[in-house]
């Protein structure tokens, strides 16, 4: 498996996001591209990232190659990547060789770990409401609500998306709509569900990799966040509704 990306920051942010959910991850590469993700240890969230081969400047893979990496090791190696740095991943004899090309070249050799290949649970849900927005809008909303409580209520009312948090001192509420210009698209019926705010906050690092996020949910249904990636790639994060 070998791939080279021109935007090291973007790849690093994807890996950091996955690292927020799980300590280790399996990377599966095929001729079509790269897929990584799995269920978080508390089994509340499922992450599924698909990066097509066209995303990369160079991409080489066998029919199907599977490797396991300890995310802490890789994230540490990538902690100082800059905007114009390039990044190469290359697997060789049980090791991952990682090269960052920028003002100067930095190389890291990281041992691979043996992991079971995750089974794709095939989540197929009919969501009551869908809304598309800039990832920056989504992050800003979460930033406003982040210190207000532990659970976030996501609801839709007459085409508007309402995200609110009830804390010890009161309720904070953010209303987004196409009319107000902060949703790119919105459609569906009224619905409402509660999710753990800390799980939503784990996704904010995707801001550096994705410009647009689609949010899908329904009453007592998981929340699906689809972060759009270039070349029709995506990062899906499913978060289970919270039973209070």
């Amino acid at each position: 498996m070998k791939f080279k990306a021109v935007d090291a920051v973007s790849i690093a942010s994807i890996l950091r996001t996955v690292g927020e959910f799980m300590p280790e991850v399996t990377l599966v590469s095929t001729k079509e591209g790269l897929r990584l993700g799995g269920v978080d240890p508390s089994r509340v969230a499922y992450v599924d990232i698909v990066i097509p081969s066209l995303y990369f400047q160079e991409f080489e893979s066998g029919e199907r190659e599977v490797i396991g990496i300890k995310l802490e090791d890789v994230i540490n190696a990538l902690k100082n990547v800059k905007k114009n740095d390039g990044l190469t991943f290359f697997t060789n004899e049980g090791k991952l060789e990682l090269t960052i090309e920028g003002d100067f070249e930095r190389s890291f050799i990281i041992p691979l770990v043996e992991l079971e290949e995750p089974k794709n649970p095939g989540i197929n849900l009919q969501f009551a409401f869908k809304a598309k927005m800039l990832t920056s809008t989504f992050n800003e909303t979460l930033d406003i609500l982040s210190d207000m409580g532990e659970s976030v209520v996501i609801s839709s009312e007459d085409g508007k998306l309402i995200i609110s948090v009830e804390g010890d001192v009161g309720v904070s509420r953010v209303e987004l709509s196409e009319a107000a210009g902060n949703l790119i698209e919105a459609s569906g019926t009224n619905a409402s569900s509660v999710y753990g705010l800390d799980y939503l906050l784990k996704t904010t690092k995707m801001r550096n990799s994705s410009d647009v996020v689609e949010l899908m949910f329904g009453t007592q249904l998981p929340l699906k966040l689809r972060f759009q990636l270039p070349q029709e790639g995506y990062g899906d994060v499913y978060i289970a509704p919270r039973a209070e």
């Binding site: 300590p23 240890p41 508390s42 089994r43 509340v44 289970a240 209070e244």
Partner: protein
């Protein structure tokens, strides 16, 4: 708190009719006996005991301490023995530990004066040390009663400390103390894996006896620092182990406290909860049971738990248990404190009780909900726990 004198007449320290977990009359008499004749000098055997205060940080008071008794006083600093004592005996003992205080800036630990050096040397000792303390004035009855610290007796400014023969510390203690390039975190771990108790490790840390940039650390902070550092390492280890097979439930009652543990098959996450009934230490004037819970997921937490040092003391005890068994689990620990548990005695009480709790034989269940059903007859605020528990809510909220 007022006790009807008629109650004492009928009880005479035999039945605890006042509802407390100790007899105030017995404790007071024992303390008065021990304190009789202590004016400006004290000759005794330090267990060893050193207390570092936190007020006026970074210029803090350091108190070498001792009871007015010679011989083997190690039980004064041994929580493993305290846990099997009556509260009468424990309080009478701890409140007769006299403290002689001197002020130092915390940085002085790295280049100590003779006075501070003596205190550091005392703190390293593995066994009691004969001491003579000359006070500047008679000790005042200012007892230290704190949620984190074990109780301590009267104090006075110290004029002079004279130490008897000091037993040499173990080689590993000497190594940690003399290594100027060993980080405190490494020192704590080395001492712990060499069998040095957590109380001694926190005492050595508090007198600035380890680390690269040495400082005095208030005892209250050093206790929690040690519990956290050691449990962090153990939690990291236990995440490598296989997951437990069944739900295990442990229950222990001790001195009007009920401790409950549920070890649930799953990846590591942890919750510590406390329910304080009205007329207990932290809910004395309350009208309802006060339930507080703090938690962490698999990746740990980034903020200090509001519930305080008990969180890390209990986390250490359960992490020790799981590492010893080479198993990983999702852990729920709850404590109910009933009326009569009148004042806080320190986080050792939680650490040692959870250790004892997990030494017991568990009831096993196939599902967490069967375990919760079983516990509903043992817990007095069962509904509050199941409603507020972060882990039980997490269990209900899983994707798969």
């Amino acid at each position: 708190m007022k006790v009807d004198p008629g109650t004492c007449l009928r009880c005479r320290a035999t039945k605890y009719l006042c509802g407390l977990t100790y007899c105030p009359v017995t404790v007071k008499m024992s303390i008065l006996n021990m304190r009789a004749g202590i004016y400006e000098e004290l000759s005794g055997s330090s267990p060893p005991s050193v207390f570092v205060g936190r007020f006026n940080y970074p210029k803090v008071a350091v108190y070498p301490s001792a009871p007015p008794l010679g011989g083997d006083t190690s039980r004064y600093e041994d929580p493993k023995l305290w846990i099997s004592m009556s509260l009468d005996e424990f309080l009478a003992m701890r409140l007769s530990v006299f403290r002689g205080g001197q002020s130092f800036r915390v940085e002085q630990a790295s280049d100590p004066s003779r006075d501070l050096w003596d205190v550091q040397t005392l703190a390293l000792s593995p066994r009691p040390v004969e001491v003579e303390m000359k006070f500047k004035e008679p000790p005042k009855t200012m007892n230290v009663i704190d949620d984190t610290l074990p109780p301590l007796g009267p104090s006075a400014p110290l004029d002079k400390l004279r130490l008897g023969t000091i037993p040499p510390p173990e080689k590993v203690v000497e190594k940690v103390f003399s290594s100027q390039d060993m980080k405190a975190i490494e020192g704590m771990r080395l001492l712990y894996t060499s069998g040095v108790g957590v109380e001694r490790i926190s005492r050595i840390l508090s007198v600035g006896g380890m680390g690269v940039d040495r400082k005095l650390v208030p005892t209250r902070w050093s206790i929690t620092a040690v519990d956290k550092t050691l449990s962090d390492q153990l939690v990291k280890e236990l995440k490598e182990f296989d997951i437990l097979d069944n739900v295990e439930v442990y229950v222990r009652e001790h001195l009007r406290n009920l401790f409950v543990a549920m070890l649930i098959p799953g990846n590591w996450s942890f919750e510590w909860g406390e329910a304080w009934f009205p007329r207990t230490a932290w809910n004395y004037w309350g009208g309802e049971v006060a339930v507080e819970i703090d938690h962490e997921g698999y990746s740990g937490r980034k903020t200090y738990p509001e519930i305080g040092g008990c969180y890390y003391a209990s986390r250490l005890a359960v992490a020790e248990h799981l590492v010893k068994r080479r198993r990983q689990a999702t852990v729920v620990l709850w404590r109910e404190t009933y009326p009569g548990f009148f004042f806080p005695v320190g986080v050792w009480f939680v650490r040692e009780n959870v250790r004892k709790l997990l030494e017991g034989r568990p009831e096993t269940f196939d599902t967490v909900w069967e375990a919760v059903e079983y516990l509903s007859s043992r817990l007095k605020v069962s509904r509050d726990w199941t409603r507020k528990s972060w882990i039980l809510n997490l269990m209900r909220s899983r994707l798969f």
